[in-house]
Structures are given as structure tokens and as C-alpha cells.
Amino acid sequence: MSIEADPVTAQDASGPVSPWIAVCQLQDLVPERGAAALVRGEQVALFRLVDDTVRAVQHQDPFTGAHVLARGIVGTRGTTPTVASPLHKQVFDLRTGGCLDPADGPTLRTWDVRVEEGVVLVSAAPESGGPS
């Protein structure tokens, strides 16, 4: 496994692209509170849940365009982990990026995350979701 720490300026790094980017230590993340990270120039919102899994979705709020989602309140709907936009309170599924409230709202892009030896690794490219 190769770990490449990702400085802000690395987005146009040439050469072979590593599929995983080390972003921070798990302990840098507060349980149930988001944190923003720059991943290859993209603003990603990371969320550490109570069971220490980490989820990553786009930091940009699709309703307003502002980069704020990491600052929303983390919670659950049923058993689904969620974040509510701090601007107008729309609720998103942290696992799929889907918008739960309103149900027909736009879907967030998500990134795969792994935690290895206390280091949080985010996949270099977004995994899914609609256009930002």
C-alpha cells in the first residue's frame, strides 16, 4: 500500500496517480462532527461516526454553492447516518450522498474512505453521485 500525503498544490501532479490519499489521523477527527479536507484540490467533508467509521461527501452544499457541509450537525434517521446542511437544514445520507429531506433533492458526491493504522485514507477520485 502506498501512502501519498496530499499537499494542496498536488492537484496537477503528473505521474502515476495513487488511488488513496492520506488526509489526517483518525484522532484529528472529532466523533460526530465533520471536518473539511482538500483532496486533490477538491473540498471534501469528512465525518467520523461513533463506531469510528469515516464517511466522505462533497463539502459543497448543492443548494447554495457554499462550501459548508462539514459544519452541519451529524445525526441519524432510523439507522442511516446523516448530516444536515448548516445553511438551510436539508438532510443528506452520509453513506450514499442521497438527499433525504427534501426527498427529491440533489445527491452528493461521495468518496471511499479507509482507516489504516490510525491514518485516514480517502480515494483519489469521487466514487459516485451527481454533478456538483
Binding site: E4, A5, D6, P7, V8, A22, V23, C24, Q25, Q27, D28, L29, V30, P31, E32, R33, A35, A36, A37, L38, Q43, L46, L49, V50, Q60, T64, G65, A66, H67, V68, R71, G72, I73, V74, G75, T76, R77, G78, T79, P81, T82, A84, P86, L87, K89, V91, V119
Partner: protein, 897 residues
Amino acid sequence: MSEHPTQAESTTTTPDDARRHLVVVGGGMVAQRLVEALRDRDGAGTWRISVFAEEPRPPYDRVALTSYFSGRDAEDLALGDPALWEDPLVTLHRGVAVTGLDREARTVTTSTGRAGADRTIPYDELVLATGSGAFVPPIPGTDLPGVFVYRTVDDVAALRGWVEEQGRRWNRPVRGAVIGGGLLGLEAAGAMQALGAQSTVVQFGTHLMSAQVDLGGGEALRRLINQLGVAVRVSTATTRLRPNRRGTVGGLEFADGGRLDVDVVVVATGITPRDELARTSGLAVGARGGVVVDESCRTADPHVWAVGEVACIGGSCIGLVAPGYAMAEVVADRLLGGQAVFPGADTATKLKLAGVDVASFGDAFAQTPGALELVHSDPVAGVYTKLVLSDDARTLLGGVLVGDASAYATLRPMLGRELSGDPSAYLLPEGVSGLSRGDGDLPDDATVCSCNNVSAGTVRGAVTEHGCTDVASAKVCTRAGTSCGSCLPLVKKLVGAELAKAGLDVSTALCEHFALSRRQLFDAVRITGLRTFSDVLGRHGHDQAPVGSRGCDICKPVVASILSSLDDGHVLDGERATLQDTNDHVMANLQKDGTYSVVPRMPGGEVTPEGLIAVGQVAKDFDLYTKITGGQRVDMFGARLEQLPLIWRRLVDAGFESGHAYGKSLRTVKSCVGSTWCRFGVQDSTSLAVALELRYRGLRAPHKFKLGVSGCARECAEARAKDVGIIATDQGWNVYVGGNGGFTPRHAQLLAEDLDTETLVRTVDRFLMYYIRTGDRLQRTAPWIEEVEGGLGGVREVIMEDSLGIAAELDAAMAAHVDRYEDEWRATLDDPEKLQRFASFVNAPTEPDPSLAYVTERGQRRPATAEERAAGLAVASSPTPADEPMLVAGPTLEVRA
């Protein structure tokens, strides 16, 4: 209309010259309803309407006139939607009386009141809505200065001015008398009491309110009135009003030889219809006055109608507003070609005098042949209740309720119907008899709100068909309870029953994680003493919630607020930090582009020149947009997350502390400059405002709250628009509660008068703590007062008379808050761990958000619009000044090149 040609065309389909002209004489309550009803239904705009109103103001709520003394002012009495008077098809001529009527020519003549010439105005149809005037009996001396009637805003304003002037003149309480012991007289006596005058009611008849209640009820009523401190003389004829040496009214003389010294007199002996125009133009008038009309409210002249108190319908005039409204609806319908007829009058009445519950309805005197009377009288409790029933004791014919009118709202709609259940259930105070009142069985066609003629079915329909889920929305939807409000308890029951039936959630559950309301949760947490969200969720959370439930954006901030009200720990301590909205989390206000605004506290709006310079320098160095807030301080916009600690380091060093502009907590105590500088000020409002702001700073509540302190009655601090407003008087401070601006503006209502500073502070302490304990999530003080037990009166009892025995607890809770206060920002700057949350990116903590973009407007920056970005007009956010210290630590992962 010529001024608004485009508007007129866009709203209607009738060309201007084809419109007919309706002239309404009188601008009172019924005229207002007529115009509203006609404009509502005349979508095609076939009528243009001219209203001539002798009074200098738009129609107002005369029924609520007495509230003018309890802190409401003339504007609060406004009726209906003011936009009605801006309708291009409606012209209101204020201060213009109609002086002549030529039925042949179909014209009216008006006087402008000023020197201007009289005008003649043609009409197609004419409606007389001139109401009544006060009836003054021919007793010598009623023309003396200091003698008033009680009918218009001008009357009550003059009365108030006189009483206040007398109060300043004499070194003793002002002595007042009211001649007339009916509904009006009792209201006037209550008003005099409210102004601080003593009052005596002088009644010619054998008992009070003799038109509505029987002798037994009148006796019970007299005892209640006495308890308010108002003296009563019955069976007393006044023969003369005597002047004092100054030529103003000084005494009353009675037929029995008795005398009474007075400084002010209100004559409330009845009303006479204003039927002058009918008389001079040869229209028939009733035996006791009033314009004679048929059941369609039309006079013998097919083009002249009469509505409201001036109309003599079925042989008499009716001095109540609800029948007048019904007449207005009839005429509106007829003018549009309908066939409506007057349905007959509901003459039920309820006295609106705080502390005295009286109602009378239907055949109160049991005049129906064979009628049975069912009476309950309890002189000790001051209660007298009587039901009048048909000879089989089943059908309700009428009733009198004195001392406890709680059954009124339920009984009145049952008039003429069979009572379900045992009638005695309605005689005893609710809950005492053990018998059920069967409120739920009200038939759909029973009238619930007679002011606005709303049936039980319509109220139910508001829930079942229009999706209303609370009383407030049902009120808006049906207009029930929007006039006198006496039916609101019933509306509440009907709405509640319907919601329950529909299986709709009437529950006050916070969210899927808590089945409790904020208030219940507050009490639960206070008792169990739990102090973390996980514990609170585990113990008090919804038992149906699935394993792994972790709260949400609704319950988490509520729990955070409750915990901080209970022990004032730092908002960013431990797990508690994660519960907060971003505003509370980073102690700043999130703006639309993701940056924040920063507001340092300036208690009472006071700031030194040095302070202003320091704030200005910070704004300049960080390129922040600055604006003065309505709360008398400075707001700085455009601060990025990672800049907040740097900005606050500078502000704290300059002596500032958090302004809590972000919290559901005290915002500001707005003040005027007060007696220290102002030549009108009677108290030092600024010092009080500063003291209060320092006392309540940081106090967390169900919603944000604001205070205001004005140094005199000119009210420059707009204190009555605040949750707690304090206005200086010669003797101390008046305190008002429940005001707010915003979406639903509310004027604060008087809670207590002439308090000394210490009592004032204790009163405000308790008011705020009681609100914090019992308010619902995001409920401001105004709706809280409406919903808390007993309304404003209940609040007064709890905090001024300690009716719940919790005053000491409330005082202790506030003392603890004052004790434990610390500046959240100072504490944060001293704590490296807390500072970590201000990192813009966990892997690049001081890197600005690269998406921010601004343009310059009027010398300051603002967020660029999408168009401006696309057009390349925007610039990136300004860099943080280079010489600022590093407060947020760098990334924990070393960056490998």
C-alpha cells in the same frame, strides 16, 4: 382611481365608466367589514367604494377600546388588513362627516371639517353605517370639564390625559365615578383603576348589568367588582354634577341626598343610534331611534341601506358587533345580486374586564313560557351560574355565568339545541362536578365564533380539508377567534379533537429521537441531572428509536441549550461541542457564502472611542464588511473560519467579549441615552441597560431574546418591540413582555408598573428563567405567553405572587448563571484543543476556502453573484494579514514532497 389606472386594470375586468359607486357613511367596525366583504367577492370590480368617516383614523376595533389602557395604543386596535385601504377601488375619506342626504338626486353632502367648501357626491347605492353615539342623560353639569363619554379612541385618550393630569395636580389618588353600571360602565371603571384612579360605579337600576344578568347574577357581580377595589352604588339616581372652585367637575349629588367628591366622571348610560341623516331625509326611524330596515337591511328607499348599530331591524337596534357583521355580509351579498337575509341576532355578551368573568346569552331572563331555571350560587367563591332550559329540561335556552364563565364558549353554540349529558355539569366549575361536558359532540352547524360567523364544521374543516395542524393556523384559515377571542378555548378543543381523530400527531415530541417536548425534557434532565447527550439520549430518548440512533439537528441543539441553562458549562466543552449548530460551534454567524460575521458585545450600545477605533482597525486589517445592527452594535462580515480566532484575539485584547449574536440567548439590551444627557429622560436608562446586558449575557434560552430600556415614555429605545421592554416612569420602571419584530411583529404587553430597580431586576430574572424552563423549542416569548398556563395573567402570578412556589428556585438559577458567566471567546483562545475546530481544512488548516469570491460595492466587499463570477468581475478573498500569530496548529501528517 385615475392615480392608479394600471393597478385597477390588472385587478378587475370592469371598465372604469361602467363601475357603480357605493357610498358608505361612517367608518366604523361594520363599515370595515362591509368593504372587506364586498372587495372579497366583487372580483370583477363592478363597484367602487367611497367611505366617509368622521373619525380621523381608519376603522378600528372599538370592542377592544379598553385595552388602550392596558398598554395597547391606537395602532394596535387596527382592524383587518390595512391593504384594504390601498385598494384602488376603495377610497377612505378620514375626518370627513356626511352632513346632508338628497335621496331624490342621489347625492350626499360632506363637510371637510376644515374651512374647505362642502362637497356633493353622487351615489348609486348608499349604506348608512353611522353606529351610535354615547347617550348622555339630561342631568345638569354633564358639560363640565372632566366629564367624559366612552365611545371612541379620542374619548379614551382625552380621559387618560385628564386622569394623568389630575394625578400630577393632587397629592392623592385621583377620584373617579362612572355613571352607569352596564357593560360599558364596568369597562370604564376598570380602565380608571388601570390608570391608578379610584372609582365608584353609580347605577340607577337595582343591580349591575341589568340588561344582561338577573338580580342574583348582579349581586354576585357586585361582590366581584368590589374585590377589584371598585365601589358600587345601586338604585341611585344622580341629580347633578357640581363644579369645584376651578370650574371643573368636583362632585356628584344623588336623589337620596348623598354626595360623592370626584375629579373625573365617565357617563356610560347607554347609546343612541346616529340616525340624523335618516331623519332629515324623511326615512322612517324606530320608536327608540335607528334607521328602519327590512330583513335585507334595505330602507324604504331601494337605494339606501343601513347596517350595524344604527339599523333598526325587527323593531330594535342591536348594540353588538356580531349582528352588525352579519348585516354587512347581507348587504355585500345583495349589492352583488344575491338574496341573503339577516339571520337574526345572537345577543350573547361577555364582559371583558380582567378578573371578572361574566357572560350572558340567549333567554337569560327565562321569559320563554314554561322555561326552567337551573341555578348554582356560591357567594364564598363568588360564583353564580344559571342555565335556562326548555320545559322538558333538555333544550338550552339561555344562561347567565358570573365568576366562572369557562362554560360559555361551549354553551353558547348549543343555544336552542339539546344538551348532551347532565346540564348540571355546566353549572359547576370544570372538573369539579365529575360530570363530562361533552364538548366534542357540538353539531357541525353550531356557531362557534359569532363575531365572524364561523361554525364548528368550518373549524373542523380547517383541519380535515385545509391541513391546519394548530389553533394559530386554524384561526387564519377560518377567522374564528380573531375578533373578541372568547371562543378560542372551544376552537382549541375542536382542533385538538379533529387532529386526534385524523390520527395526526398532536404530540409535542421533539423529533424521532425524543418523545418529549423541550419543556418536558428540560424537567427530566433537571431531575436526573444527566450532563451528556449520550446519557440524555439513552435515558430520556424515544424507546422506539432503533439501536444506533444518534440524534439529529433538531434535538442536539435543544439538549445543548438545556444543558447550558442548567450548568453553564462552556458551549464547546467535550461532547457538547458536537451538538451545536455551526454558529454556536464557532461562536459566529454563518453567512450565505460560508464565511461568518462577528459581533463584539457593546453593552447598552455604549462604546468608547478607543473601542470603536479597535473594532475599525480589525475590520480594516481583515477586510471585513461592517454594518451597524438594529441592536446598537457593529457587525463585521466576511470572516473566514480560520480567521475567527485571530480576529477575536485582537478584540479580546482590546477589551471586548462575545456578543452572542450567534446564540439562542440574549442578544442586546437596546437603550436610549436616558436622563444622563437627554432633557426629557426621567431615569438613567443606559446604566440600567448596561447592568441588565452584563447580567443576562450568555444566558441560553429556547430562542434568541432581546431587551430594551427607554428613559421616558417617548420610548426611543423601542422597548415594546422587545421580549422584555422597560420604560421609565416618574416613580420607577414599567416592564412589558412578549414583544418582537421579525416575521410576526408583536408589541410587548404590560407586566408590572412603577417597580424600583431591585424589584425590576428580580421580575425580569424570574420571567426569563420561567420562560427558559417552560418554553418550547424555537418558541419566542410572545407565543410562549399565549400558551403557558393562564397566559400573561398566569405568568404574572407565577413570578410576582409565586403561585407555583418556584420563585426561589428561579432566583437561584439566575444567580448561578450570573456567577458562572465567563466569556466564551476568551476561554476558547486559551485552549489549543478548542482552537482546532477553526482549521479551514484538516490537512491545510490556514488555507482559505478557494471558492470564495467578492466584488466591491459602496467602498466595501460583498459576495459576488453567480453572474459576476461568470463575467470575471469577482476577486478572491483577501489574505489574512501576514503578521498575525499562528493560533491553529498545523496538520498532523507531515507532507511528503
